[in-house]
């Protein structure tokens, strides 16, 4: 089951020529600089753009090929536009109902009250969209799209107007969505932390073309892609919950290279989780050190080095088979004589448990 996309179109000087295939579950991040065609791609997928040629297959269903092209309202998808557009003549409640009512009862998988509560828009229900704040509008638009119980969710920078606390509430729900409802999500975002947290796959775009598409772990650590080269370089570690340390409020998660201590999360033992390790949070030491506040220290092997050209060195480490990136200064790399194959210790200052 996969999502196959191929769209070509031309808008004056801008040419979109995007083709990729990603699994039809989980979150696929669409990542790329401003103006590279992310919104245009989503609009094409939603059937809102006239295209030169297009092919779109979601799982077993072809939505668009030479022979047939579903009209936008025939595609069971939810779309949160980059500029939230609430219907100005309908109250918030009726905005939400607009899509909800049009979804056949048999297809409904999301309850009205659940979406309202989750997005914290209960108090707004009977207001007009006129006086809503930017963040409130965004949350209503997300709820409205979710309530159509779509088979594919398109999110175009949906959380930009939200503060960290609101985001922290919504992100886990979006994660659950694809896990529990098996609702694949295409997610445009510039926020690396959101992407790392949510995305299983990633489509990397530039100037209307797809640079690469695939599992996020692989793309994040590939030195030939801009991600691993940036100061925001990061790696994703697949692990599973091993134990809870109630005294100190920690949770232990195991991965092939060892055990992480992270802030306690109420997850069942054995539950697979994902950890995000930022390259700049990883420091290297030649000896295992004691008397440090850093809990997560692993023996590692240097797999490869990449000089960024601005005095940074990105080191790809192999920790029990899992690739992890470390970002250090060239001065340190020279001082520690880092070279491929070398054995050393990786101190990981902080790590985010994602799911």
């Amino acid at each position: 089951m996969s999502i196959q996309v191929r769209y070509r179109l031309q808008r004056n000087a801008f040419r979109l020529d995007a083709e990729f295939t990603v699994p039809a579950h989980g979150v696929t991040a669409i990542f790329g600089p401003s103006g590279c065609g992310k919104t245009t791609l989503l609009r094409a997928i939603a059937g809102l753009e006239t295209v030169d040629s297009g092919y779109l297959k979601i799982g077993a269903d072809v939505w668009h090929d030479e022979h047939r092209c579903l009209a936008p309202h025939e595609r069971p998808l939810g779309y949160v536009f980059q500029e939230t557009c609430l219907f100005p003549h309908l109250s918030v409640r009726r905005n939400l109902n607009y899509g909800y009512r049009r979804c056949a009862d048999a297809r409904k998988r999301i309850k009205f009250d659940d979406a309202v509560e989750l997005l914290g828009i209960g108090p707004l229900l009977d207001r007009g969209p006129g006086g809503l704040s930017g963040g409130e509008r965004q949350r209503v638009a997300i709820a409205r799209a979710l309530l159509t119980s779509p088979r594919l969710l398109l999110l175009d920078e949906p959380l930009t107007a939200l503060d960290a606390r609101s985001k922290a509430g919504i992100l886990p729900y979006l994660e659950r969505l694809h896990a529990e409802l098996d609702m694949p999500v295409l997610y445009v975002s510039h926020a690396a932390d959101e992407v790392a947290r949510l995305a299983d796959q990633m489509v990397l775009m530039e100037a209307g073309r797809v640079l690469a598409a695939g599992p996020i772990q692989a793309l994040l650590t590939r030195f030939d892609l801009p991600l691993a080269q940036s100061t925001e370089a990061e790696a994703i570690v697949d692990a599973s919950v091993a134990a809870h340390d109630d005294e100190f409020g920690l949770t232990c998660v195991d991965f092939p290279g060892g055990r992480f201590n992270v802030l306690r999360r109420d997850l069942p033992i054995g539950r697979p989780v994902r950890l995000r390790v930022l390259a700049r949070d990883v420091s290297l030491t030649l000896e295992r050190q004691s008397g440090t506040s850093i809990l997560n220290v692993f023996p590692a092997t240097v797999a490869a080095l990449f000089e960024t050209g601005d005095a940074r060195v990105i080191v790809r480490l192999d920790i029990g088979g899992t690739p992890i990136l470390a970002q250090i200064t060239r001065k340190s790399a020279v001082a520690l004589a880092i070279a491929p194959g070398q054995q050393l210790f990786a101190q990981i200052k902080s790590v985010a448990l994602l799911a």
């Binding site: 939603a46 557009c85 609430l86 003549h89 607009y98 409205r144």
Partner: protein, 226 residues
Amino acid sequence: MLSEADFIALWTTLKLATVATLILLCIGTPLAWWLAQTRSRLKAPCEAIIALPLVLPPTVLGFYLLIALGPAGPVGGLMQRLGGEPLAFTFTGLVIGSVFYSLPFVVQPLQTAFASIGTRSLEVAATLGASPFDRFFTIAVPLARPGFLTATVLGFAHTIGEFGVVLMIGGNIPGATRVLSIAIYDHVEAVDYASAHWLAGGLLILSFSLLLGVYSLNRHIAVIRP
């Protein structure tokens, strides 16, 4: 002051204005919608043709309609061959004439209103599963409400006040095609100014109340625009 004939004329007028306005909205709405959406080359010619009846003096327009609808004319002849009655000098003929003459007053405001909605709201509605028909009624029409108000008021009022066309193709037949505007005109012609004043004054007060009601109501449910 006012005779029974005047009340019959009032009744005919209200019936005519209501029926004509309803037909105008039924014809004008899809027409305006098409004009607001299309990129066809036919757009500008169609717009010009719709506005065209305006430039002819109503009596002259009525004259040509008379020719067309009369037994010798293309429409009337066709009607007769189909076994129907000729349309001139009937209420139906009046309605056709009024619709023809008031069409631009209905189409143009609607078209402006539809065009100013933009496409975004309609796109959003489409992604929420609304078919073109559905989103036309649930999004385009409510958002074009001010345009509908203008169109209805202009269409209705203009049909009430219309005179030349109606006089010409109606033939001023009491109970069938004698409308209020002709009745007032008759009173003026008969130097029966008192009746004319009464009738005109009554019409004005009635219309004013009606319009005031419509506009006040409109203010209360005014669309909040972003």
